[in-house]
C-alpha cells in the first residue's frame, strides 16, 4: 500500500499542489492527470523519493519511504520521461546493463525474450541510436517484462508508441495489477486498462 499524506509541491515561488492525500492499493491503478506543468512528474518523483516533498510524507506499507531506503527501492520500478538507454549500446546490452544496475543478472536468452515480447525481434543487436523514437521507448519498456517489482511508477508510458504497442503495454500493466501489483501512471491519453477500476487524481482541480 502506497500512501501520500498531505503532500505539497513548491517550484520556485509557485505552489503546484498542496494538501494532496491518496492511497494506492493492490490491483487498483492511480491515474494522475492534469495540464502541462500541473506537477505530475514532480508528484511521481516524490513518490519514488527522488525529490523531497515541500510538506507531507509518502508511506510504503505504513512506513515513511525515507526510513525504508533500499528496502523500498527493492519494490520500486520507475520509468521516467527519459528512456535511460545508451545510444551506442545495442538493445540487448542496454536491458542487460539496466538489469545489472538494479542488481539483477539477465541471461542473453532472457534479454531476448523480453525484447521479443515488446516487439523488437531482430533488433536485439542493433545500436539503439539506429532505432526510431517509438522503438527506443520499447527498449525502455522492456524492463517491465522481467521486473518483479511490486510498485510501478510510470511517467507518460504511452508516449511515442503505436497502437499495437499501446495495447501490449496496457495488457502488461493489467497483468501486473491482476497479480496484486500497484501502479501509479500519468498520461494525457485516455487508455483503458482492461477491467480495472482506476482511481483518478486530477492535479488541475
Amino acid at each position: 500500500m502506497l500512501e501520500g499524506i498531505q503532500l505539497a509541491c513548491v517550484r520556485g515561488e509557485r505552489t503546484l499542489f498542496s494538501q494532496l492525500s491518496f492511497i494506492v492499493r493492490e490491483g487498483e491503478p492511480l491515474l494522475v492527470q492534469g495540464a502541462n506543468g500541473a506537477g505530475k512528474t514532480s508528484l511521481l518523483r516524490m513518490l519514488c523519493g527522488l525529490t523531497l516533498p515541500a510538506a507531507g510524507e509518502v508511506h510504503w506499507d505504513g512506513t515513511p519511504i525515507g526510513e525504508l531506503g533500499d528496502a523500498f527501492r527493492q519494490d520500486l520500478l520507475y520509468l521516467g520521461h527519459h528512456n535511460a538507454i545508451q545510444e551506442s549500446l545495442t538493445a540487448r546490452e542496454n536491458i542487460k546493463a539496466s538489469a545489472a544496475l538494479s542488481g539483477v543478472a539477465l541471461e542473453d536468452a532472457e534479454a531476448s525474450e523480453a525484447l521479443r515480447h515488446i516487439g523488437l525481434r531482430g533488433r536485439e543487436d542493433l545500436p539503439t541510436r539506429f532505432l526510431s523514437q517509438g522503438q527506443k521507448r520499447r527498449v525502455a519498456l522492456a524492463r517491465l517484462m522481467w521486473n518483479k517489482a511490486l510498485l510501478w511508477v510510470l511517467d507518460e508510458p504511452f508516449v511515442a508508441l503505436d497502437t499495437a504497442a499501446l495495447g501490449l503495454l496496457a495488457g502488461t500493466i493489467a497483468g501486473h495489477l491482476a497479480r496484486g501489483g500497484l501502479a501509479v501512471i500519468t498520461s494525457h491519453q485516455e487508455v483503458a486498462i482492461a477491467g480495472m477500476p482506476a482511481q483518478i487524481l486530477d492535479l488541475s482541480s
Binding site: T51, R73, Q74, A84, Q86, S88, L101, S102, G103, V104
Partner: protein, 227 residues
C-alpha cells in the same frame, strides 16, 4: 534471472562504462593525446638543456597528467544524467555508492592507468634515468586514482550546471594540490639523494582517505543534483 551481489554489480558497471568508452574511442584518445602533446611541448620550447629539463620533468609530467585527467571528468556523470540512467541508479536497490565506485574505477582505467603507462615513455624526452622513471610511474599509480576520486565529487556537484566545465576546474584543481606536491616531490626527492618512500607513503595515505570519503561525498552530491 537471478539477484547478484554488490561486487558483481560493481563489475557490471565497470564493464558497461568500458564498453561505452570503446564505442566512442575518440573521447578516451583525446585525453591521452593531450597528455602526450603537453609533455612534449616543454622540451621543444625550452631547448636541449638537459640539466634544466631534468629538474622540471617531474613537475611538468605531473601537471600534464593532472590536466589530462581533468579533461575527461565532466563526462563521468553527464551522459548518464542526460539520458535518465542516473535516476535509475539512484532508484536502484543496490547502494548508489557501489555504482558510483564502479564508475570512478572505470574512469581511472580509462583516464588514469594509461597516463601511468605513458609517463615513463614521455619521461625519456626529459633525460630521466630508469630509477626516476620507475618512481614517477609509482607516484602516478598512487596519485591518479586520487584524481579520479576527487574529480568525481566535483563532477557530481556541477551536474547539470551551465558552464559546469569551468566551475569543475575551479572546484577540483585546488583539491589536487596536495597530490601534485607529493607526487612530483617523490621524483625530486630521489633525484637529490633523499628517499622517495616518505612521499609515496603520504600519497598512499591520501589515496586511502579519498577511497573512503569520495564515493560517499559523490553519492550525496548526486542525490542533491537529481532533486
Amino acid at each position: 534471472m537471478r539477484r547478484i551481489g554488490n561486487i558483481a554489480v560493481f563489475g557490471a558497471v565497470v564493464r558497461r562504462d568500458l564498453t561505452l568508452a570503446l564505442r566512442q574511442k575518440s573521447e578516451v584518445l583525446t585525453t591521452l593525446f593531450f597528455f602526450a602533446i603537453v609533455a612534449s611541448l616543454f622540451p621543444l620550447g625550452i631547448g636541449p638543456e638537459s640539466a634544466l629539463l631534468h629538474r622540471i620533468a617531474p613537475g611538468i609530467l605531473w601537471v600534464g597528467a593532472l590536466l589530462a585527467a581533468m579533461l575527461s571528468l565532466q563526462r563521468m556523470f553527464a551522459t548518464d544524467f542526460a539520458d535518465g540512467s542516473l535516476e535509475q541508479m539512484a532508484l536502484s536497490p543496490v547502494p548508489l555508492g557501489v555504482l558510483v565506485a564502479g564508475k570512478i574505477f572505470a574512469h581511472w582505467l580509462l583516464a588514469g592507468l594509461p597516463l601511468v603507462l605513458m609517463a615513463p615513455v614521455l619521461g625519456l624526452q626529459f633525460d630521466l634515468d630508469g630509477r626516476s622513471l620507475a618512481i614517477l610511474a609509482a607516484s602516478l599509480l598512487l596519485g591518479t586514482p586520487i584524481l579520479s576520486l576527487i574529480g568525481a565529487i566535483g563532477a557530481a556537484l556541477t551536474l547539470g550546471v551551465r558552464g559546469g566545465g569551468v566551475l569543475l576546474s575551479l572546484l577540483t584543481l585546488p583539491l589536487y594540490i596536495p597530490t601534485l606536491i607529493f607526487g612530483a616531490g617523490a621524483v625530486e626527492a630521489d633525484a637529490v639523494g633523499l628517499s622517495a618512500s616518505g612521499h609515496l607513503a603520504l600519497l598512499a595515505a591520501l589515496l586511502s582517505l579519498a577511497v573512503f570519503f569520495a564515493p560517499w561525498a559523490t553519492t550525496a552530491a548526486l542525490r542533491i543534483g537529481l532533486e
